[in-house]
Symmetry: C2
Subunit: 320 residues, 2 copies
């Protein structure tokens, strides 16, 4: 059984991943807190940016480490120190501690690290379609922190201390659970709320185009990356992942096909200048040729993304 | 008088810069050591990666800070921990301390920071000509450290704590002084040694193309950046600087024009597989359109680069 650590294991993607790995997997979940009815695994709580925690976790010599721990974009923008501490220094401390273990093992211990980066490493002006050669010029603290982590992980890997890969996830949609404060929350909300019989607010024009993949795809990306031979990455260890690009209008049409006009009628358009401005700075579409060639797969239409939510999360949602 | 700090003020470029600013400027030079007959300025010695030093320097509230302190590419590759400490964490500590001063001043103190990055932030495969949109994918620790610094400086600047700019310097040629261990050293050596009546080793084929600017241009880039309105950077605060692209054969032809066949005869071709491999991973040519539009200027032929060495450094060299 592969000895596995999931940092950020209490979060939505961490829980999906732990469930995907299953109850028989040898998993430790680390987070500041866990939801009730958590996915299976040994739970540890603490602050991921504490160097003593990094040392302690490294000393357990996990074979595979999923590093999903982060504060979200909005919080990283509002709390600058916390953002750099959790989103950047925590990975630095972990890599530094893992390098010590690597050296203590005489070079035998080389953990696989799968790091969730983000399309926030990109900043405008954008082409209509972002290819694998597009430069990383983030315009948020969150994006800058993720980009620094990619550089560190690549360099520690190039030196052979660890074996890392950075996955630039699309926006995860449909997120289960309650609405959160993320500016991107409405992309999920306009689907999730109507399917739960509730009203949803659409704060932007329905011409807005964005890049989506389901939580199920996110968990699949992670396990696919863990099994990947990183020699195939040719030293470029940060990957733009596949997703599905569509406009809000196309999202709404898919909802109509899946759940009918009554669901669509639950969406109320209330323009919000702040959110419109943030969203206008986001990528709209990608050509993730390298990741596709490496076998990463996402949904190929938005109806399928909605269906994944219905299959995986709607029942749990209704029972709450 | 602008209160100015030069970190790495004891190095070759730092000394050129201090001399360019002149004896009447209000300059503090910080480094681990200084050459005899140092350029003018108050000298302070210490380890730039010590957080207490960063705090102490920040508390002096310099208006302009030139951050040139670094260990070179070869040393960063050989001593991983020292490279990340000096080349990355030192700037982090300084930015963190400057942010504290910014906040203590009620937001009034916003130092200008000019950071010397490098074309090492780029990694192959390269196009023949690298434009301003080419991605940063470093393949050395030095390049990764410089790229992280660019990201941090941009984010601290975007938030208004400091006002920074990162300058991706060409290879500086002709470097005065004795040969050093840098893999790029021969680009200077094949000009400098013959002009000083000594034999020079050429370890690569004369078809190798590279990107050069003189030490005088480097100092001029720095003062030009200090005077620049960074609003013109539109949030992309890392700049590829102008230089002159030529092959080693073209360097040698220029040497022949300037100093005759007897100088050229001092160059001995001794192929070195290690250096050939390193150099093959370096950029060859740039189209630095943004920097040119912002008024940065370099030499426009290699004869001029040689003449700058003769005018600025050869006499000092001969007197040693």
């Amino acid at each position: 059984m592969t000895k596995t650590l999931i940092l950020g294991g209490g979060g939505m993607v961490g829980q999906k991943l732990a469930n995907r790995l299953g109850p028989d997997a040898n998993i430790t979940l680390f987070d500041i807190a866990f939801p009730p009815n958590s996915a299976p695994g040994v739970q540890k709580t603490g602050n991921v940016s504490d160097p003593a925690i990094a040392k302690s976790l490294a000393s357990e010599r996990f074979e595979v480490i999923y590093h999903l721990a982060a504060i979200v974009s909005g919080e990283a923008e509002a709390d600058f120190d916390k953002g750099w501490s959790i989103n950047m220094m925590a990975l630095w401390n972990l890599l530094d501690a893992l390098k010590d273990e690597h050296e203590a093992s005489g070079g035998a211990y080389i953990p696989k690290i799968i790091f969730t980066s983000s399309i926030a490493v990109f900043g405008g002006p954008f082409p209509e379609m972002i290819d694998d050669e597009f430069l990383s010029a983030p315009q948020t603290s969150y994006g800058a922190q993720k980009a620094c982590c990619e550089l560190m992980l690549t360099d520690f890997s190039r030196k052979g201390f660890v074996d890392g890969i950075s996955l630039r996830l699309p926006t995860i949609c449909v997120r289960p659970g309650k609405p959160n404060a993320a500016a991107s929350g409405f992309f999920s909300g306009i689907i999730r709320e109507p399917l739960n019989g509730q009203t949803a607010i659409l704060p932007v024009a329905d011409t807005v185009r964005h890049w989506h993949a389901s939580p199920r795809s996110a968990a699949r990306f992670l396990t696919h990356a863990a099994a990947l031979d990183t020699a195939k990455l040719n030293g470029r260890r940060a990957l733009n992942l596949p997703g599905f690009s569509c406009t809000v209008a196309e999202q709404i049409e898919a909802l109509r096909r899946v759940a009918g006009q009554s669901a669509v009628d639950k969406i109320k358009h209330q323009p919000d200048e702040t959110i419109m401005k943030i969203v206008s700075g986001w990528p709209r579409n990608f050509d993730p040729a390298r990741a596709i060639e490496l076998g990463f797969k996402a949904e190929s239409d938005f109806d399928e993304i909605i269906q994944v939510y219905i299959d995986d999360d709607l029942a749990n949602s209704a029972s709450r």
